[in-house]
Each structure stands twice: as C-alpha cells, then as structure tokens.
Amino acid sequence: MNRRIDGFTRAAQRMSVKMPVLDARTLASRARIAAAMRDIVPGEGVIDQPEELAPYESDALTAYAQRPLLVVLPENTAQIAAILRWCNEQGVRVVPRGAGTSLSGGALPAEDGIVLGLSRLRRILEIDYDNRIAVVQPGVTNLAVSQAVAARGFYYAPDPSSQIACTIGGNVAENSGGVHCLKYGMTAHNVLGLKMVLMSGEVVELGGKALDAPGYDLLGLAVGSEGLLGVVSEATLRLLVKPQAAQAVLLGFAEVESAARCVAEVIAHGIIPAGMEMMDRPAIHAAEDFLSVGYPREVDALLIVEVDGPQQECRHLMTMVTEIAVRNGAATVRVSQSEDERLRFWAGRKAAFPAIGRISPDYYCIDGTIPRRCLPEMLRRMSGMAVHHGLRVANVFHAGDGNLHPLILYDANVPGELDRAEAFAADILRTCVAMGGVLTGEHGVGVEKRDLMGEMFTDVDLAHQERVKWVFDPAMLLNPGKVFPNLHRCAELGRMHVHQGRLPFPDIPRF
C-alpha cells in the first residue's frame, strides 16, 4: 500500500501488507458517515480531524499504520448496536479497538472504515462474590479488574504483560495469556459469558454466570476471534482467590539442553509452576546491562521458576525444583528470600524488550509456539539463521508452555536490514510449524501472520474457519484484512517494529 499519510508518514511508508481493496463510495461519503455517527453518538464521540485521528492509525505493531476514515467512541451497548447496524446497512467497514496494545496489528484501521473505540465503556458493572465473577465493560483494563476485587482477596488470573493498559475487550478478542497462564489458563479459560453485538446490530448473550451453556460453544468461538465475529459489550469473568504466597528461583545453566531437561523434569514431577521463563545468553546480558538485577552472565540459559500457594507448599515445591535443577547441572541456584527479591528476579525478564531496544536501533518481537522438547534444536537453528541473514537474535521464552519470543535485532536505516529481519522472522515461524508447533501462542494472527496461515492450515481448514466468519458477519465488514490471507498472497511479514528504541507504549512492561 505504501501510501503517504499526511503527518504520519514514518510507519506508513514501511507498510507492505495488502489490505482489502478500498471502497471508493465509502471514501467519498465520509462527511455523510460522520453525520450519521454523530446522530448515534452525540457530543465528543466522533473524531474526524486528521490530527485527532493520529493516535488511532496503528496499534502496538507500528510497522503497519494508516489513517481510519473516522473514529467513533460509543458509550453503551445500544450505541454500539446502532453503529454496527448502520454500517452493515451501508456497507461500511468497522475495526474494533480496545487500548490498541495488539502486537499483531489486530486493531490496524481500514482507510475506508471506522474505528470503533471501546475506551469509554469502562465500568465494572457487577461484582458477584457469591458466584466469584465480575461483569465488566470492554474498556475496563485488565489490571483494574484485579484491583477492584483485591480487597476481598480475589484477582483475575490472565495477566498479559501490558495489563496496566490493555482492556478486557481486547483480551477477549485476542485470547490473551500472560506469564501465569501455564497454571491459571488463558482468557478463554477465565471468561464465562459475553454480551456481543453482531455486525447486524443484533445483541447476543453467550454463556453467563453458570459454568456451562446450552447449544454450540459460541463463547469459545468468540474468545480469540480477533474482532472478526462481533464486538464485546460486556464480559463475565471468573475471579480466583489470590494465592497466599509466591516464591521464585533463578537457575543458571551452562547449556540450553540442561535447562530444557530441567523444565521437562519439573513437569514430570507433577509440578505446574505459576510461571517458568527462560532467557538465552544475549537476552540475559541485555537485561543485566540494563538493570543489574544480578543475573549470572556466564550461563547460556537462565530459568526463572515461580511457585505459589500456601507458604508450606511454596517451600515444598521450591525444594523439589532446586533439587531437580542441581541434578541437571544448574550453575546458579538463587531462591528469592523476600517479596522484594522475587520482584527483582522478574524485573530483568520483564525489561527484556526495552533492554534489547537499548542495544539495537530496532527489533522485531516474534511469537510462536513449539513443543518444548524442540527448544535446543530451535535455538541451534536460529543461530544458523542469524548467520544466514546477518542479524543478531535474543530469546525470551515462556518455557512451561513452549511459547517463544525471539527478538530480532536490526537497523531500519540500513538498507535491506528490515527485509532481512522479516525473512528471518518468517523462517522462525515456518520452523515452529515444521516442528509441530503453531504460528502464534498469544499475540494473535492479526495482519502480521495472516499470510503465513497457509503454513499451518490447508485451504479446506481455512475455508471452514472462514465460513464461521460468514455465519457472524456475512458481509465481511468487521475487522477486514485480518487473520485470513487475501486472495493475493503476500509473503511480506511484519512484527512488532520498534524504531530507535521507542516502544509504542514505552511505560508498560513487555514480556
């Protein structure tokens, strides 16, 4: 597309993903559409001035950016329904958006479509401690749910790293995970019900306060559907009781193989840690240079293992974990002796992205999953790819569930490096699939991995998924250009592009 958008050219110039052909009639009707939207959402709810549209031109995957036709910010379900009904009748595309923290371009606007921002729906509607649930609007942030119930000892388990900013609506759309999802599940396992507005304007209730619902599992389909099936206007979330205590241990290994064996053995002993993270040598060094949290520099792999529960359980599990680690040749074993120390252990891991940002002008964050046993082989192959593409790579890894986040270091100002980084990324993701893994563990397909879907699914597989799209949105107006490859396959890939160390949300952790 590569079009220049006044005022916001940097990212747009780099944009190479193909989006659906623009609808000239819609583009020509901008004023009429704005007027119709103002009838539905009076006051400040409709944005059409170029400078005010700027913040909406991309999500956290800033490599892809374009100006939306308009932004509409409804305040309630009825307005969402009226907007969608009108757009459906008029054939206008709609891109739903929460906080815009997607790392896969899930909220990338359409130039001929409106962005439906849910940020004004930020009320917690009900907290029902008797049934251990909270009913919230989609614009409530992830962390706000936990904060609202903390005084009674509850929390909402999924904790994506952007949780201070990202919203429940976005979490539902992306089926967000987090460091603790190995033990406590992804968003899909923690949502009991949704009120969802279809593109037709119809409002449907999926699930509810009961633990199951009759009929097909439309709730399961809706969670993780990346905004293609409907717009969430209320979510019923499961609340859990906060564990009494948590303890973490740093385990350093001279070889990646020993670390991988340690992870497998922990699980074989029946332990599902609350979190189990791995960093490779380049990531360890970047984090340590940045924050000096005390990570060992002389190891090839660092594990952070966290256990939680009653004090006695933490103590017991920590003893088991450290014994397993020592048996597998851990060179460093440091158990957190205080809450402060536990948080310090995590600080380096959570700062891995900005730490890499300090040592490289730009980086791509990749997100794929492999069977855990393939990790050593994957890292070996990645070293080979790094040589082949002439770029460095650092790895952080949700070791418990095989979710990789390689960070490819490059400099967009050096001609050809961006292309090489994209080719490197595609090689990694193809290798994930070839090893029996998948294209994305938690960031979503979005526009980013859309054109790689054929690596994992046959045309028949994809056609069955696309028909589900048609069931919910026959005119294909909701979040166009996402998840499913276009007719014209485009091998161009993008990742979370970070230019000159500037993250789209510089103040929130990424891991």
Binding site: G220, D401, R467
Partner: protein
C-alpha cells in the same frame, strides 16, 4: 434401532469416504463412538449408522509436553490407564454415562466425551472438556477432511474450532482424532466432609470455602435421601496437591469454616470413593426416575432443589451448587394410582417445561438426561414452543453454523441443539 445401513470405517480416509457417500446420496448418518450417551440425544432412526469404534488407539502421548493425541473412538478407560501410568490425568474428570442409563460401564470414548463436553466434579476449579481440547481432525458434513487447533498447549492461531467441536454432539463434523492437554495427577488428596447441612447452608459453606486460598478442587452436596438411606446430608470439599500443601490447607480450611459447621477430613481412599460416586450418581435412584441435569449460577443451586422438592425429586449438587442432578419419579408427583399413559405424559410435559423455566429464570439451563423412550418425546421442548422461546439471534447463529459445516444436514439428523436454546 434398526439401521438400514452400517458403515464401520477403519481409517480416517474411510470415514471421509463414508461421509462423502452419504452426502452424495443425501442420506443421514448417525455418528456413534461407544454409544454410551445415545439415549440422551437420539438421532432419527432412518439414518445409516457410522460406527467409529475401529477409529481407536492412542497415536501420540508425550508426558513431558502434557499432550496426548488419540483416535476419536479410543475408550476413555484406555486413555486414563495410559495417563495413570505416568501419573497424569484428564483434569476435567470426564465420566461414563453408561451406568446412568443402566448400561455397562466402559464404552465411553474420548470422542464422545468431547462431542458432549462431559466434565466431572473438577470442572469447578480446572475447566471443562472444552478447556482441555487442543486440536482435532475431523470430516465435516461437507465431506471434507479438516483439522483445527494444534498439538501444543498454547495456541491462538485462527478461530478456536476445537472448542466449537466440544459439545457439538457430532452435528458439525465427525471427529477422527483429538489432541488433549493433560495434567499431572495430584500426589495427595483429602476430602473435608460436613454433615447435616440444609441445601442452602451447604451451598453457602461451599461458596465460603471457594473464597478462601485453599484451592478447593471440587465441592458437592448430597441432601438427605430416603432412596439411598444416607444417614444425613453430606457436604464434601476436595483438596488435592502435594502432601504438605494438602495438610496445611486442610487444617486452615477446617478452622476457617468452623463457624459454619464442623467438618472432618477423610483419608485419601474414602475421598476417592466419594468423588467416584459423584461420577455415577450413586446417591440418586435410577429405576422409575427421570434424570435431569440443571446448570445454574452456583450460589443459586439450592433454589432449584427447593422448587423440585414439590416433584419428589432426589438431588445431588456438584460444582459448589452450579450443577444440580435431579432424579424425579416418572409418575407424576403425589399420584399414587395408575394413570393412563397420555395423562402421565401430560403431567410430565408440564413438569419438564417447568424445570426448563426454573433453570432459565435462574440464569441457567436444564437438560433431560434419562427418560423412558415413550415419555422422552413428550418431555422434549415442543417444536412450537422451541421456535418461539429462547434467544432468536442465538438460534439463527446456531442454524447458520450448522449449515456452514453440514449444509445438507446429514450428520446426526434429529439432534437439534438450536431447539434446546
């Protein structure tokens, strides 16, 4: 149950062939794994039988990765035995419907468990079958082989078709292979037992336990029952995990709940027996009784019991009150004398509609699990009633989904999930 034709494919390719053939001839297929749940949702009898029993066997089990793949009609017992050998389990505690229908145990298959989203007592804490399926291969009603999901525990690539398959009762696609997430078996367990509580007090106690950091994995309540001559009502809270942790939590939970009732911890063996009996619903009478399954918000479960008392129901509560099993005499209540079949059916139908209404009013739903064939038809929601009731938008989505996967309605014709909304 006379089928005009019976297919017994031995491979996924033969399943594809059978479905494609049925599609070409526009013939219905009854999809059957072990057949243990057939009486629950019976396809029309004109359908040919697609007997999947030869599509069996574990094809991949990697304990380190917490992943198991098996062909669809692999007996649940075989899977559980393989997992037990490595101290692992299907954590959602699926169970066998066979005994509920007076049939032999052991016929249940993994495919049946997934197709019916069968989840036992631990569903309360660790999710349902739909939360543990990672991927599948199947043949849709379009006569095409497809797969969905993956074989790793963390995956958000594309729409979550595995969840759609869970609970779809073979009406969208014929499952041929299923990949499940498995978890370590708890190394120790105990159950805290409280006696003599009313339903409402028991549900309050279970709710209080779940609001404490004790990680209660299952919570059930069996009211006093004449049928089984249980001496008094029993409320059970299960604690699982590593020994030292279970011991600590047990002590702390007993102390914290003391103001609500005096409980005692039972040994692992007895604890296991309590929860096994919840799988077979030993506490409820079978002979001459309908079985209803009613799912409501947990804190409201006791209100279902209160209403059903007028129907002489025997009740078992699981999921801390969120799941109510009710055995109700086939004969209309408080009617000692024999009645004509028609009158019995009328009374039962009114009662059936009433139970569905109560469940709906409380924010849940009710399913008739067991009924004599003669009575069953009259207890299902009447077509006219079904068309008018429920959420029309949801019904339309169901019908379009069915059409997307099975446009000619050849898979399990007569099983209409939209009609149950």
């Amino acid at each position: 149950m006379a089928h005009q034709q019976c297919h017994s494919p031995a491979t996924a390719a033969e399943v594809l062939e059978a479905v494609a053939g049925a599609l070409a001839g526009r013939r219905g297929l009854e999809i059957r794994g072990g057949g243990s749940k057939r009486p629950l949702r019976m396809p029309v009898e004109s359908a040919a039988l697609l007997d999947l029993s030869a599509i069996a066997g574990i094809t991949d089990y990697d304990p380190d990765e917490l992943v198991l793949t098996a062909r669809a009609a692999t007996p649940l017992l075989e899977i559980e035995a393989a997992l037990a050998e490595r101290q692992q389990m299907l954590a959602f505690e699926p169970f066998d419907h066979g005994p509920l229908f007076g049939a032999a145990a052991g016929r249940t298959t993994l495919g049946g468990v997934i197709a019916a989203n069968v989840s036992g007592s631990r569903r309360l804490s660790i999710g349902a079958a739909r939360d543990h399926i990672l991927g599948f291969s199947a043949v849709s009603g379009r006569g095409e082989a497809l797969k969905g999901g993956g074989a790793v525990v963390k995956n958000v690539t594309g729409f979550d078709l595995p969840k759609l398959m869970a609970g779809s009762w073979g009406t969208l696609a014929v499952l041929t292979s299923i990949t499940m997430r498995v978890l370590p078996r708890p190394r120790a367990e105990t159950t805290l037992v409280f006696r003599g509580l009313s339903d409402q007090a028991a549900i309050r106690l279970m709710g209080a336990a779940l609001a404490l950091p004790a990680a209660v994995s299952a919570a059930a309540h069996l009211p006093y029952s004449r049928a089984t001559a249980a001496s008094c009502a029993t409320t059970a809270l299960r604690l699982e995990g590593f020994g030292p942790s279970v011991d600590t939590r047990c002590r702390e939970l007993l102390r914290a709940l003391a103001p609500m009732g005096a409980g005692e911890a039972v040994a692992a063996e007895e604890s296991g027996a309590i929860w096994r009996s919840m799988r077979t619903l030993d506490a409820l009478p079978r002979e001459g009784h309908l079985l209803w399954r009613i799912s409501v918000p947990p804190a409201l479960g006791w209100r279902v019991g209160e209403v059903l008392a007028s129907l002489d129901a025997h009740i078992a509560y699981d999921w801390a009150g969120g799941l109510v099993w009710a055995a109700i005499p086939e004969a209309a209540p408080r009617d000692g004398g024999a009645r004509a079949d028609g009158a019995q059916a009328d009374g039962a139908q009114a009662a059936g509609a009433g139970i569905r209404d109560i469940a709906r009013a409380l924010g849940g739903h009710a399913v008739l699990v067991r009924a004599p064939p003669a009575l069953r038809a009259s207890l299902l929601p009447a077509a006219a009633q079904a068309d008018a009731g429920g959420d029309q938008g949801l019904k339309a989505l169901h019908q379009r989904l069915k059409a997307a996967f099975d446009p000619h309605g050849i898979l399990n014709p007569g099983v209409d999930l939209a009609g149950e909304l």
